[in-house]
């Protein structure tokens, strides 16, 4: 059956407004996209052309030399991939387990101290010892320098994710918990058999947020990792870029040039793409979870 909609002819102001909307959004979209486009084009440009004429929005001469040299120096990149995948997987799994457990306890209305525990967690966002005491704790007292735990532990739990998870779980009808209790399930069984299966969307969203944090982290590596074999991907990229800058300055000052070869401009761009690759590849699939997650998380809970 066809539904008939009465279309009121949009007035002139509305049409102008819509046109303006298309115009502004097209420009903003292009601005957001250009840097990505730039990196892709730069990575497949010919090095000499880049040095002679600079980066362009369209490659003057296409060359895959940068990708070939990445695969020649494959070893350190592969090691970093392994490190990043390891910390992302371990970190995300443990984080999700702990975050969801906390979320579950905090929605239990018979858990009288839930507000106290919430504040105990929230307070850490309000007030903190800061970077330096944390650094000293990790290095001097826990002896975690050059340990993968120094990359996993700092991002393991975030108050924000815990509250996001709690908000998700609040939308599950509470009577399910009561009913399970009457059926004789204990607190853990309710979590495992009732709450977890019903929180899949929440787990996916928060899990993606956590995984992204781990994948993109270079900061903790810069503090705690000095062994090259333990560099995660982003830190490897950062080292490559910042060393190149340093060497360039040194070369300009006439200190040394022959002994070291600088990573070429196109190689930097190609490495950046290989390092970011999995995110760009997964992006279309995970984006809707993010949008859903943000929409639910933005409701004050």
């Amino acid at each position: 059956m066809k539904t008939i909609t009465l279309q009121v002819k949009p007035d002139k102001g509305t049409r102008t407004f819509t046109l303006l909307g298309y115009f502004v959004m097209t420009i903003i979209t292009i601005i957001c996209f250009i840097p990505f486009w730039l990196i892709v084009v730069a990575s497949i440009s010919d090095e000499h052309m880049v040095l002679a004429e600079g980066f362009k929005l369209w490659p003057a001469l296409i060359s895959f030399a940068a990708y070939r040299s990445i695969f020649q120096g494959f070893d350190s990149l592969m090691k970093s991939y392994l490190v990043t995948i390891l910390i992302t997987v371990i970190g995300t799994v443990f984080s999700l387990l702990l975050t969801s457990m906390t979320g579950y306890v905090l929605i239990r209305q018979d858990f009288r101290k839930r507000n106290m525990v919430s504040f105990f967690i929230y307070f850490t966002t309000l007030f903190s010892g800061g970077v330096i005491p944390t650094y000293i704790l990790f290095v001097k007292y826990l002896n975690l320098k050059n340990s993968l735990w120094a990359l996993i532990l700092p991002c393991l739990l975030s108050p924000w994710n815990i509250f996001l998870m709690r908000n998700f779980m609040k939308s599950i009808p509470y009577s399910l918990i009561d009913a399970s209790k009457i059926d004789g399930a204990n607190d853990w069984q309710i979590y495992e058999k009732v709450i977890l299966p019903l929180s899949k969307a929440g787990l996916a969203t928060v899990g993606l947020f956590i995984a992204l944090t781990y994948w993109n982290d270079w900061y903790h590596a810069s503090l705690y990792i000095t062994k090259e074999s333990l560099y995660p991907l982003q830190y490897l990229l950062y080292r490559m870029l910042s060393n190149a800058e340093y060497m360039k300055q040194a070369a300009a000052a006439g200190i040394f040039l022959d002994t070291v070869t600088l990573p070429s401009e196109t190689l930097k761009m190609a490495t950046a793409l290989v390092v970011t690759g999995p995110i760009l590849f997964l992006y279309p699939f995970v984006q809707r979870y993010f949008i859903k997650g943000i929409m639910i998380g933005s409701v004050k809970g």
């Binding site: 959004m25 840097p35 730039l38 970077v131 950062y238 761009m269 279309p284």
Partner: protein, 316 residues
């Protein structure tokens, strides 16, 4: 005997112990989380003591000599602190206001455009910057702004203009940094606002149209007032963090380029440098303590003010 039973009954109104036993499994589930926050958030708070000592890494926290407020004294007198504070606060204000305004504009337009395909593509692309690491953001800015082969300079050269060396020009960076921050947070924020806009009852618009309200009037009298609580909530949430900069953003765009410090140094980058480059633990800690204490006071004050103004908008 009966009497005694009654007597014990009155004694066993749920004690702390009984209440604990009833929820002990829940408490056990919280043990790792509580342990985590104690170890990695509460114990480092003790490290505030660092700011009052002349820290020696070998001696550790407790054995390093106590020097009172000297670190703060050095920091305030060094002349750095004023600019750190100014930069941190001004940048954050610009991020909060600029960011939210652009996000609202995007959300209003995206909510208005009826072509679902256009909305989807546009939303996917403006969300993309949110997903990438700040290292990559740093590389983007390098590819755009560097003097030898950056895109902007390539274009300037081709048009016959003089090249512009951004990395030597402090005055250019406030604009770049603010623009990049808005760029990165745009997707996330506009989704938040869009979710609010799509929650507005369509009938309100319908009746406004019947009353002859133009599009502009509908936006300014319906949409914007409906967004206001979210806007205030987000602004407040961020105001509390106004003394915490976007460390990764600044560090990846500027690095240790001393030429630009005057306009780009914030408390966070200073603390990081004092730990990794200058090894000035004392002054770095002092700056960190200042940040934490005043940040905390600021959140509590702003929250109290908002609570007085409108109970529902307060954070806690």
């Amino acid at each position: 005997m009966k009497k005694l039973d009654n007597f014990t009954d009155t004694l066993t109104k749920p004690t702390l112990y009984h209440r604990f036993m009833k929820t002990k499994l829940l408490w056990f589930m919280l043990i790792p989380v509580i342990a985590y926050f104690v170890l990695f958030a509460y114990i480092p708070m003790v490290g505030i003591w660092l700011a009052f000592t002349k820290f020696d890494f070998r001696l550790g926290l407790l054995k390093s000599p106590f020097i009172g407020l000297k670190n703060f004294d050095y920091l305030f007198k060094s002349g750095i602190f004023g600019r750190l504070l100014r930069n941190t606060i001004l940048y954050n204000l610009a991020f909060i206001l600029g960011g939210n305004i652009v996000q609202i504009i995007c959300a209003v337009f995206l909510g208005e455009i009826k072509n679902k395909r256009f909305v989807k593509i546009s939303q996917s692309i403006i969300f993309l910057p949110y997903f990438i690491s700040y290292v990559l953001v740093g590389l983007f800015s390098y590819a755009l702004f560097n003097i030898d082969n950056g895109v902007i300079n390539t274009i300037l050269r081709n048009l016959g203009f003089v090249q512009y060396n951004f990395y030597l020009k402090p005055q250019a960076w406030p604009f770049i940094i603010i623009a990049v921050q808005i760029w990165k947070g745009l997707g996330y924020g506009s989704v938040v606002y869009l979710s609010v806009i799509s929650g507005i009852d369509q009938e309100i618009y319908e009746s406004a149209r019947i009353d002859g309200a133009t599009k502009w009037q509908q936006i300014s009298y319906i949409t914007l007032p409906m967004i206001k609580p979210t806007f205030i909530l987000l602004v407040m949430f961020n105001l509390g963090n106004i003394l915490k900069g976007q460390f990764q953003l600044f560090y990846q765009l500027i690095g240790n380029n001393g030429l630009l410090y005057n306009v780009t140094d914030i408390i966070d980058t200073y603390v990081y440098r004092s730990l990794t480059v200058n090894f000035d633990i004392g002054m770095g800690s002092a700056a960190g303590v200042f940040q934490s204490v005043f940040g905390c006071i600021l959140v509590l004050t702003v929250n109290a003010l908002v609570k007085r103004f409108n109970e529902d908008l307060a954070l806690f």
